[in-house]
Symmetry: none
Subunit: 210 residues, 4 copies
Amino acid sequence: MNEHFFELKQEKQDRIINAALKVFARYGYDHAGTDEIVKEASISKGLLFHYFGSKIGTYSFVYDYSVRYMVLQLNSYVNETETNYFRVWEQAIDAQFRILELYPYMLHFLVGSLWKPMGEELEAIRECRERFLTVYEKLWQQALGLKAEDEEPEEHNSSAKEEMDKDRILRYAMRGILEDHLFEENMDIAEMKAEMLAVVQRIENYEKTK
Amino acid sequence: MNEHFFELKQEKQDRIINAALKVFARYGYDHAGTDEIVKEASISKGLLFHYFGSKIGTYSFVYDYSVRYMVLQLNSYVNETETNYFRVWEQAIDAQFRILELYPYMLHFLVGSLWKPMGEELEAIRECRERFLTVYEKLWQQALGLKAEDEEPEEHNSSAKEEMDKDRILRYAMRGILEDHLFEENMDIAEMKAEMLAVVQRIENYEKTK
Amino acid sequence: MNEHFFELKQEKQDRIINAALKVFARYGYDHAGTDEIVKEASISKGLLFHYFGSKIGTYSFVYDYSVRYMVLQLNSYVNETETNYFRVWEQAIDAQFRILELYPYMLHFLVGSLWKPMGEELEAIRECRERFLTVYEKLWQQALGLKAEDEEPEEHNSSAKEEMDKDRILRYAMRGILEDHLFEENMDIAEMKAEMLAVVQRIENYEKTK
Amino acid sequence: MNEHFFELKQEKQDRIINAALKVFARYGYDHAGTDEIVKEASISKGLLFHYFGSKIGTYSFVYDYSVRYMVLQLNSYVNETETNYFRVWEQAIDAQFRILELYPYMLHFLVGSLWKPMGEELEAIRECRERFLTVYEKLWQQALGLKAEDEEPEEHNSSAKEEMDKDRILRYAMRGILEDHLFEENMDIAEMKAEMLAVVQRIENYEKTK
DNA sequence: TATGAATGAGCTTTCATTCAT
DNA sequence: CATGAATGAAAGCTCATTCAT
């Protein structure tokens, strides 16, 4: 990857990044066409390869960029001293939907990459992908860990397995909501956020009444 | 589509169907290669086109076949007189995982198709896809509808919106579990089923304690 | 490389081989265009890649094929019991120019490859190229070795170094003559052979009068 | 070609010329990359095109420059009054290898251009190339002419044809030696010169003993 | 004078599809 | 019914060349 990319004016950088994110998020690595990316970014074919070398290079770059950006956002918005499981989720949701304001397809792209089949040609991003997974896991571990500490040990009716289920339910919901809106030309970020928060609150309410 | 296909011996039919389902489910329509399908099915390139005419024809056929097969299974295993929301879900889960025994990739393929971006070339299966959606919806409507009747009108703290949330949570979980196992070479259908049932039971337990 | 290539009728195989030899010999690996090869061979673009996978694969194939063919010819025409240096050269020349009747560009291609700059992309044929060099060397060693045995040890005015010079002179002449005729549309193989034999005879005459 | 080039300091001029000669000599016109030339010369891409307008313009310039330089050297070192064929060859060899001290790739580039396949795009240097050929020819004609005068007419057993052969043998040897050393990172100019002189002496010795 | 970002025509390669056998 | 050789349009990628700075 050509480091001179970062010397372009921010607007152009973001235009290129968003174009790649959009096309890759919508169609996946394989069906994404470089033609479509350059058209969306209003740049020439050659420029894309000048900066990223190849289609997979472009993918790797936006993947790496997205991971860094998301980690940054999560660290900024998720309070590490927060001890309530659902508050951590809410903060994480806050951070993630804030990302969408600048990079509307970044979350689609990133979260999608975690469960989408990974062709052999994507071996290039395995390391990066795993770094993202680690950070992502750490976040939920924080929530789960604190929750665990928060509880009395004898209250093992809320077992680790059950916590895991709760966690997976919320993650599957997040994934599903993002995916459900992938088609929309102008996605309503606020509405998506509201939907997700509703799910969190529902689960929380369940817990309270237990 | 060449109707003579059904004159092939059942084993060969299923070998071809499973090959197509596997490749389409794993890589999506676009990245699926006809070469890989014919290799997986141990047939010649020409034969695939002889029966299905084209790649999209092959996709349409297995899509249609899958929908019919699934509707059949759902109708067999889901008791229309069942009035409990969670029992309906359990029966539907039972039906679906039973499908996987004969066609291990059919559910991946089918459920995936509902939320995956649909390229313009897939216009051909829109009708079929919508038929599937309708049947699928009817199933949940049955559950929801019965549930609604089942409840006292004054208990409108469990509003339609909340039902919707509960429904979406379960559907997202189903989608997520299927997707999480897409990579495995020999997927453990029993385990997947257990995971899904655990989620259902968790939600049901929540409801009960409410 | 797709082994089914050899199942094509001989005429087509040779048409493809000759087209590749011609274009590669004339323009070198880099400037050779696959378009020009397929046009010369009257086949489609796809077929070339169907059989050889890539441009470098095509080059590797014709290189390997040429080496095998030439070794065969040399073994057929060069008498291993011949003890006269110049007779061995004449037999080798006979063998090589006979090759040109079926594959008019094979010798250009092959001999040229020994002294032409070898880009990194040609790493693929290094082994094959070295095998050719070995066989080629063995041939001249035969001539030189026999010559050495043929002579009285005290006659060290014709030292090994001088033999080497004589050998290099003849090889450079062979190379030069082939190259000088590379441009001609219909090369006069008989004339080229005569030119080369004239050089051999001149050197031989020098030796005799010594 | 931009005449301002000659206003650059000599060191930079030579750096650019040598970079172009090296890349063109090693890879031939077609595979030579302007990127590699500017990198080798430590100048920017734009500057190359500023001075030479195009790749072929760059090639033409260094070709023309090389021809002029070589003619100059030949005229300086080859004594026009020398009447011995082999002395003329030796002087020419002396002149040529002296060139390599300042422009290590010039001879490779120039001599190579005479026998390398000439793509249509090189039409631009045909005239220049032919001028070089003329000068080059004149040199050998001088040698041959003088040789002819030098000999008794009745000795026509050494016919014009035989002279031609002798001449071609030496030229092919020169070409071959240059080419054989093209790959070496630091070519041993002295050794190459010694090799060439050895060939000349061998041929001369043959003639003497005749 | 000097730079290198930007361009796009052209090249290599892929793959759904056809068709002779 | 079955094959796989053959096709060519489209995709990925390269590189000489231009141009704003």
